[in-house]
């Protein structure tokens, strides 16, 4: 699946997007965030407070207990500050 990052999540991880294949057992958004934190220091730093991370699956907001099966694109970003 494709992951896309925005704002300080993107800056801290150091890339704007990447393709990943989470291991079996990573079923929810919350589990995805925990797994990503194990991928390196920059991920651990970006996702240190997972509850502060907003998530969209296929460009729609989801909660952290949402299942990621079937997701083509998952966006991870800070709380929004538009308008």
């Amino acid at each position: 699946m494709k992951l896309v990052y925005f704002a300080w999540v993107r800056e801290r991880i150091g890339v704007a997007e990447e393709d990943v294949t989470p291991p079996a057992g990573v079923a929810t958004v919350r589990e995805l965030l925990e797994w990503l934190k194990t991928r390196g220091e920059e991920y651990a730093e970006a996702l240190k407070y997972p509850e502060a991370i907003r998530v969209a699956i296929n460009q729609e907001h989801v909660r952290h207990d949402e299942r990621i099966a079937g997701a083509r694109e998952i966006g991870l970003f800070p709380p929004m500050t538009g308008g």
């Binding site: 896309v4 925005f6 970003f77 929004m80 500050t81 308008g83």
Partner: protein, 155 residues
């Protein structure tokens, strides 16, 4: 009631008068037009610009969903939302919402509802460009903006 919804995400400035004319032009049943313009403030002189990042595709889709929700809730005849991205100087417009309806209450409510949800739900992020040349930080989300949503639950 059908409502014409227009959503544009662009880096270029836009013309508010043109958008107001487009929304009421030719429809002789429009009695009320409300606009909201969000401008870039200088925060007591500390900023010289904002950089706005967005999630292409999702930004348009999310604003469209917010507009659909507003159109379902109030009898508005047209809704326009334009949000800029990229570098925006002090005093420039960041966002424009225009709501047209027969009567004023629907236009006011729809425009304010749109702005409240846009602030906390549309995927845009602001980074500061500081006047003194030091690196600016990402603007923090305000708790007040999140709280503003809850009042739309009640009425």
């Amino acid at each position: 009631m059908s409502c014409r919804v227009t959503v544009r995400i662009q880096s270029e400035p836009f013309d508010t008068a043109d958008e107001m004319a487009a929304i009421s032009g030719g429809d002789s049943d429009v009695g009320a037009v409300v606009t909201f313009s969000g401008l870039c403030r200088d925060e007591a002189g500390t900023l010289h610009a904002l950089e706005i990042e967005h999630y292409p595709g999702m930004a348009e889709a999310e604003i469209g969903r917010i507009a659909d929700a507003a159109a379902k809730r109030w009898p508005v005849t047209a809704l326009t939302v334009i949000h800029r991205h990229g570098k925006i100087g002090i005093g420039e417009q960041i966002v424009l919402v225009v709501a047209a309806s027969r009567h004023r209450h629907a236009a006011f409510s729809a425009a304010e509802f749109m702005m409240d949800f846009l602030k906390s739900r549309a995927p845009f992020w602001k980074k500061e460009h500081r006047s003194d040349g030091t690196e600016g930080s990402w603007v923090d989300a305000k708790e007040a903006d999140e709280r503003a949503l809850s009042r739309w639950d009640r009425d």
